[in-house]
């Protein structure tokens, strides 16, 4: 009797255990990698930001001192300003241009594959390759852009070597490399809008401009929300292109938050301070994403 009961409950346990084992067998390898290299370091980073580590040793516990230091750090404030300028120009620039390209591409015209490839190919070109190309094209003395300006009778400019223009030049280069993503996302969203909807608006006497504003744009809203968040995150994390073109120069005019963080953590070995900056950047990103989502939900 007891043997029988034990057998039954054993079998029942086996019946529950088997799906558990199968399921975990499928998900465990990826889960280990992601937990080990994302979740665990994310928690560890928070603890590191409360210490004055030097990248070799953990350092002493200093509480919120690293966060307090950030408040009085004028170089960090300048880097935040440069990053904000870049973000404010790059995000709307790439999203609006991406929308314009997608609207034109959606007219069922010829050569659509050719156009789509032209706009998207710069997106796959790495920051290192883009940097070399940009240094070549925008060279103040020998570059093609200044040669073109001169041919048009305009004065030559310094571009990446002029403190007043370097960040703007980086915005232009980033839009060149980054507009393909919004264009493709918008194009996919446009192709999802039911034709009847747009045709009905036209029949009702809607002019192109009004149909766009009151019918098409509201339909594209989820895509717009996604793109605004995605491009903002990309912009706030600008590093690669700065590293391969200006290295933060001239006169620190292109030092971004992440470039400053890199220098603090890996060149000056202030790993605790670097982690604190990274965490604040993370919180700012979350706050902006939250604000965009909250506004779009209303």
């Amino acid at each position: 009797m007891t043997v029988f009961a034990a057998q039954v409950s054993g079998r029942r346990r086996a019946r529950r255990l088997l799906p558990d084992l199968t399921g975990w067998g499928f998900v465990l390898p990826a889960t280990l990698v992601i937990v080990g290299l994302s979740l665990f370091p994310a928690v560890w980073a928070l603890l590191l930001s409360l210490r004055d580590g030097d990248l070799l040793t953990g350092g002493e516990y200093v509480g919120l001192q690293n966060y307090r230091d950030m408040l009085g750090d004028t170089e960090l404030a300048a880097a935040a300003g440069h990053t904000a300028l870049y973000t404010v120009l790059f995000v709307p620039g790439s999203v609006v241009l991406g929308l314009a390209l997608a609207l034109a591409l959606n007219l069922k015209i010829r050569l659509i594959g050719f156009y789509r490839t032209c706009f998207f190919v710069p997106y796959v070109v790495s920051a290192a390759a883009t940097g070399i190309l940009a240094n070549f094209v925008f060279d103040p003395d020998f570059g093609i852009v200044n040669a073109g300006l001169k041919a048009l009778g305009l004065p030559a400019t310094g571009f990446l070597q002029d403190p007043g223009q370097a960040m703007l030049t980086l915005v232009v280069i980033s839009i060149w490399g980054g507009v393909g993503m919004p264009a493709v996302v918008y194009l996919a969203a446009l192709q999802d809008i039911p034709r009847e909807l747009v045709e009905a608006a036209r029949v009702d006497g809607g002019v192109g401009r009004h149909v766009l504003r009151h019918v098409v744009l509201p339909q594209l809203r989820p895509a717009t929300v996604f793109l605004l968040i995605w491009q903002t995150i990309t912009a706030l994390q600008l590093f690669d292109l700065v590293y391969t073109t200006t290295k933060g120069q001239p006169l620190d005019s292109t030092t971004t938050i992440v470039f400053y963080l890199y220098r603090q953590a890996f060149q000056l070995f202030h790993s605790g301070y670097g982690t604190a900056i990274a965490y604040v950047l993370f919180l700012v990103t979350l706050a902006i994403s939250g604000a965009v989502l909250w506004r779009s939900a209303r």
Binding site: L55, L101, A104, I109, F136, Y243
Partner: protein, 270 residues
Amino acid sequence: MRRRHLAHLFLMPAALLFVAPLVWMVLTAFMPDSDINTYPPKLWPEHFTTAGFARIFTEDDYPLWLANTVIVAVAAVAGHVVLCSLAGYGFARLSFRGRGLTFGALMATIMVPTQVLMIPTFLLFKNMGLIDTLGAAIVPWLASAFGVFLMRQFFLSLPKELEEAATIDGCSRLGVFFRVVLPLARPALATLVVFTLLGAWNDLLWPLIAISSEDSYTLQLGLATFSGARHTEWSALMAGNVVAVLPLVAAFVLAQRHFVATMSFSGLKG
């Protein structure tokens, strides 16, 4: 009709402006430096030469960096294809204890930026002896939460009946997965492969931190330092660029059909 002509009037100059720098990059790679270092710069090679390519493949460590990047990219793609599709299927179709909590925890990490992770990961890898080896560049690319999410969304969109029929025919779960499900997942896998390749091939910040000896340099790290060392040897620099960019352009052109379609089921589009 008129609107379409207007569209070409806007799109054609814009498209040419976008590809012009890349076309010129390819042309410059085939010019001798004497043609390039003139003012105004020449747009078309007068003396066609492959000296720039010859130089990067014989005088520099470029072939080594290329090989390193190929190793990193192949490992990243293989890791993503196997681990993310297994996990994506597990989360989409199998029920087991702790599924919801685990999936939620993985998805939460999508929001955490690399910058937060890189300092602890550096310390972790230092303790494991991985720093300054190619392994340091490979391990973070073996799987990603985004890959798991992408594959799960795709598997959720597949009809269940196919798998049920195969299960009744006596296939094991793993058999069903490899013989029935994975062949159907080709469009999603194409997207996963392109995004992984793009990330692993072009990554600069993490190799810059984790690798310091030239033998273990990746291509991007090599290019970034190369541009300082070979300052005005533009034909070699551009040849290096062309070789570095070409595989990704090819991958994109081959896969672009698939990943415009993938954006719809993954919920990325409106």
